[in-house]
């Protein structure tokens, strides 16, 4: 149902933008999105512009086998290695999810493989207790329409 609504909305967006003469192309496989959440997502390059990847969003979630008792002995090593990633300039910003479901890192990494390599080496990842979903990010490209619209 939710997907149908999304499709419907996307259809409306295509129609209205089509009238405005804006190129609308679904960009399958443009982003190397990984993780379970990526399947079935609607992808639209509404602005028609492309920007380079400047950051990587890393969402870390506990795996089903994670328990407080299982995590606790690993945590000191996890904290130290995470701080090392920050000191190496890999982690730009770091947060916990307030519902205790894991962490969110904003990485200064532009290649998904390099991000995965660094995060998989963390102790909780090695123990199979935390998994990361990686999403490449770039400057918010639709802002570029303001340049096209501004007086030269």
């Amino acid at each position: 149902m939710k997907r149908q609504i999304l499709r419907h909305l996307a259809g409306i967006a295509c129609l209205s933008l089509g009238i405005a003469g804006v190129r609308v192309a679904p960009v399958a496989a443009q982003t190397a999105n990984s993780g379970a959440a990526s399947s079935g997502q609607v992808r639209l390059n509404v602005s028609g512009a492309t920007v380079s990847t400047t950051k990587m969003l890393a969402i870390g979630r506990w795996t089903p086998k994670a328990t407080v008792a299982g995590v606790r002995p690993i945590l000191p090593a996890e904290v130290r290695d995470t701080v090392r990633l920050y000191l190496d300039g890999v982690i730009d910003q770091w947060f916990v999810q307030q519902d205790n479901s894991g962490v969110v890192f904003l990485l200064n990494v532009t290649e998904i493989d390099k991000a995965r390599e660094r995060l998989e080496k963390l102790p909780l990842g090695q123990a199979g207790l935390m998994e990361f979903e990686l999403t490449p990010l770039g400057p918010i490209s639709p802002l570029g329409s303001l340049i096209a619209a501004s007086p030269k």
Partner: protein
Amino acid sequence: MKVMAIGTLEPLTPEQRQEFLPKEVPATLQIYLDGKMEQFWLRDKDAGVIFLMTVNSIEEADKILKALPLGRAGLLNFELMPIGPLSPLGMLIK
């Protein structure tokens, strides 16, 4: 590398504002869209701007900022500071 660029603006006449800002603003946005500028702020009382830049070298930041219309006219001058992670935090994990 990250560079904190602190820009100080010369007082602009209304004519200069009209001449430069319509070109300065889109040129600044383009730096952001090119992925070279992470964050941007205006200093209080229009004293200037502060840009957090992601560049390969301080020379690159200098070149980009001096190419802006106000930079070319010598009306906005930047102090460039290379910055990085707060290394003393490492003392806690020794």
